[in-house]
């Protein structure tokens, strides 16, 4: 049972070197970033940025191979690692290249969902806090976006990650997604965006006369969670808020639904009020600007969140209902586990087990590995296709 409550941010400088030495999954991580070595310079031309102690920020880091990457991480022990784009040249040499020639060429399509963007519709916490009462919003977000990206856009290789405190990220790693233009990324993000309008706008979800199929699917997903979320968890129609109508949120919601129905029958109510309310309270709120830019840097999986100490771990979208952010291992917990672990150091075949597989990081690594398997089989499939075309065997 990981000790998740006793992380002290002050110990981070001492714990990080251990983490980077024994727990960071270099092998699988490199497998991901390298994409099977196709094209050849994908890894060497990838930009990483590090945030070091005292908020020192260094960009345009790049590495020649897994060993180089490992060495640098262990040497610098960054507090935060960001992944950027694959450039036309090695980022660490960017000053030797003419600025107009040094261009960002490809990057995964990414999405960032931050709980603070929901502060106007959640009432259990605010700011950086999250709890079991508002976590369903992230569950809904994963389900809706995962469905849309797979079914509507045909993307297959999605890596969902918990950012360590109050948000989640999605990395779309299909070849087509990585080479998507800025306009393409913008279009996908806008397709997924429903809740719009800043502080000064009350009604943020506006549905046209004909509801688009993706919105219909999203509403179905929301419906599975809505009553539990709105009534039991958030108590959206609480007494303070609404006054003397009905007994509790559940009954008030039922009354509202009935009134809306009556209003529609009498032609006094137009449009999709109930649906818009559900969307405004539950539909995923993405930061479009994160998704648009090819050169936008996003936090890497498997780094540590300095404030919570939690590892930025992958999530399995198929089992997202079972994911509990409170159970995510912290760096201090993991280091402790290493010392006290009862898991044998070698597996049944006598091979030495990696340390990360001997701690509570194991299930998350396994999710990552199955994601990698998917990528690899897709690559193999494509190569077979290509060699069929060329008639080479």
């Amino acid at each position: 049972m990981p000790e998740t409550h006793n992380y002290d941010p002050n110990t981070l400088p001492d714990l990080l070197p251990l983490y980077y030495k024994r727990l960071f999954p270099y092998g699988p991580y490199y497998k991901w970033m390298n994409y099977g070595g196709v094209p050849k310079h994908y890894f060497t031309n990838r930009e990483f940025s590090f945030t070091l102690k005292d908020d020192v920020y260094i960009r345009y880091q790049s590495f020649s191979d897994q060993q180089d990457f490992e060495k640098e991480l262990q040497k610098k022990c960054p507090y935060k690692i960001d992944i950027g784009a694959v450039y036309s040249h090695r980022p660490k040499d960017h000053k030797t290249v003419k600025s107009s020639a040094f261009i960002a060429q490809e990057k995964e399509l990414v999405f960032d969902i931050d709980m603070t963007d929901y502060d106007d519709v959640r009432f259990c916490c605010s700011g950086a806090d999250i709890c079991s009462k508002c976590w369903p919003l992230m569950v809904i977000a994963v389900k809706i976006i995962d469905r849309a990206l797979r079914d509507d856009f045909g993307f297959e290789h999605l890596l969902w990650v918990y950012s360590g405190r109050r948000g989640i990220h999605c990395w779309v790693c299909d070849e087509g997604a990585r080479s998507l233009s800025t306009q393409g990324r913008s279009a996908v993000a806008e397709y997924l965006q429903v809740v719009k309008g800043g502080e000064n706008l009350v009604r943020k979800a506006v549905l046209p006369e004909k509801i688009h199929p993706s919105i219909r699917h999203s509403l179905q997903i929301i419906d599975k969670h809505f009553l539990e979320y709105a009534i039991k968890k958030q108590d959206l129609l609480s007494y303070d808020f609404v006054g003397k109508l009905g007994r509790d949120t559940a009954s008030r919601w039922a009354i509202l639904q009935k009134r809306l129905e009556e209003g529609r029958n009498m032609n006094l109510v137009k449009g999709y009020t109930e649906e818009e309310v559900k969307l405004q309270f539950c539909y995923p709120r993405l930061d479009i600007n994160v998704s648009k830019g090819i050169n936008h840097l996003l936090k890497s999986p498997f780094c540590i969140h300095p404030k919570s100490g939690k590892v930025c771990v992958p999530m399995d979208p198929k089992n997202i209902d079972d994911f509990d952010p409170m159970e995510v291992p912290t760096i201090s917990g993991l280091i402790e586990e290493l010392d006290t672990s009862t898991v044998p150091e070698t597996d049944t075949e006598g091979r030495r087990l990696k340390d990360y597989k001997r701690t509570s990081l194991k299930p998350y690594i396994e999710i990552f590995e199955s994601f990698l398997k998917g990528l690899e089989s897709s690559r193999k499939g494509k190569m077979i296709e290509q060699s069929d075309v060329k008639m080479e065997f």
């Binding site: 605010s126 509507d152 806008e190 397709y191 502080e199 009350v202």
Partner: protein
Amino acid sequence: MKHLNNGDTWDFCRLMIMVFYLLPPSGNIPYQKLEDYALKRLRFLLRLMCCRNPEEVEGTLQDASVVHQSDCLISGSSKDVVSHHMLRLALCDDADTRTFLCSSELALFRLRLAEMSSEEWEDFFKNTENNLKQLMKTASPSSDSFLADLDFLIGILNQEFCSWHFISKEILSHSQYHLCLPFHLALGLVARREVSLSKGLALVPLSQISVVLGELFQRSMEQAVHQAWLQRHVTRCDPRIRRLTAVVKRAYKIETRAFHHLPSYLPRLELSNLWSQAEFFPPCMSTLLSTLKERHRLAHHDRIQLTLFLKDMGLSLHESLLLWKQEYSKPPAPPLDPNKRSWHGNERRYIYSIRHLYGLEGGRVNYHGHSCSSIQGRSLSYLECGGCPFSLKDESQRTQLVVQDLGQQKRFGMACASYMKTRLKKRQSSIDFARELETALHCGKGESILTRKSMRSPGIHSLESEALDKPDAFCRLQQPETVPSSTYSPVIISNEAFESVRPHLVISDSAGCNIDTGCSITQQYKKNGKHHLRDVSKIRSKLESMESPCHSEQGTLTRDEDNTGKMADDVRKSSHVTDIESLDIDIRKPSDYYRCYVTLLNGMKAVQ
């Protein structure tokens, strides 16, 4: 075709073959004609881009002066192709001109597509297909080149339907046919959720094919312009091309200069007068500024929007840095986290970001303030309060601003102008009232009301201390034209008398209130704190010589004459303002609002 029989309008029926400009022109042509066609096309494109809604486009096309110059715009004609390619060569350098060329040519392309008959569609497809066959033989397009996609589209159309004739007819009727296209060919439709998607394929109705073609054209333009840029060294070996490039660029700069810069005679914005001048900012910017004042923080894109606006208004980098430092050093108002996004600890990042906007870091781009249309198009998220208040769809917000919604997206500028007029009218009535009061006071008590910075004694109520309490109020003073700049009478008015007058006087902030105020025109055009009577007379004589609205003969005037002309024009417009409602105020970007508002205000003060 609606224009068929009208010889005076631009005859769309004279369109030959609609083109993608896939192939370059060839042949011989005198240089002068080349330049002539290029300039005509440029001017047309500039005018086209000024239009904010379909009605204005109609108006432009019906304009006789446009029609007479339009022979190089007949689609597919050699003049059309030549002028298009020349503009590519000339405008491929800066980001500004590149963006302009791509968006204006796209607008023209869409315009043409919208008016095609089915025969013209047929010809278009045939022509494109042939050109493509030729090109695909020689070129090996990279995977994201638009050529591959265009080829794919033509291929699919050929595959699914029996003839171009059939397709063309279907496009113009409300066809039931749909195309299954990869989603990246229909990005606009995807973004607006106007098509359904399945496994990466979009179901595009045949009638929407012009949207798909438009996007392909846009990509073709971007690629073409990039190509032209890559080969500029080669093309510009020829001195005639160099000359053409220079001529076209100059023409472009002249036409667009006014858009980007505030007239130099308006007071430069400084930290010291920022909060008082804020009264004259358009609602989109004053919201941001007041939020900043209240919370001491702004969301990222709101901060960019405001910083660029202030830069446009003349705020120097140094002052801008001071402003943000001042605000971000204060603790933010709840619910914001006081440990986040403070100046301390993030100083380098904020400084870099502001310097970047001023063109001193990174790509060194000289960013301009956002135009109204880009502000209106902003997609806001929680806690952002930027964007155009007139474009918000919320009923309650709009009525609060006391402006009727004028209907469409592009009329928000007119809504903004309407809002300005309302404020002007309110001001006018209070100014009139203040003027009457002052006259009464002056005549009655034989005193004049002036302020002097050092005047501070008990029992004497100085307007200045009043101003210290309310730094965003304004001052209205007596006629110092008769008063030499170095002397003025002290404040002599009892507290009681002052109290009775105070609510109706508009009081200025002491820092902005310089000694020589009075005739407001001279205040506006004052330099270095000194009262230049010469300038006043210059303006006067210019006014007298002007009988009709000043057409800026740009390019021939010196900068100084140009400014005086503008000053005079503004003064003339404003000094005869009695009927605010009838004014035609054209707001394209936030600084237009400020410029108009301030000059009109002074004009109103000048009205006797």
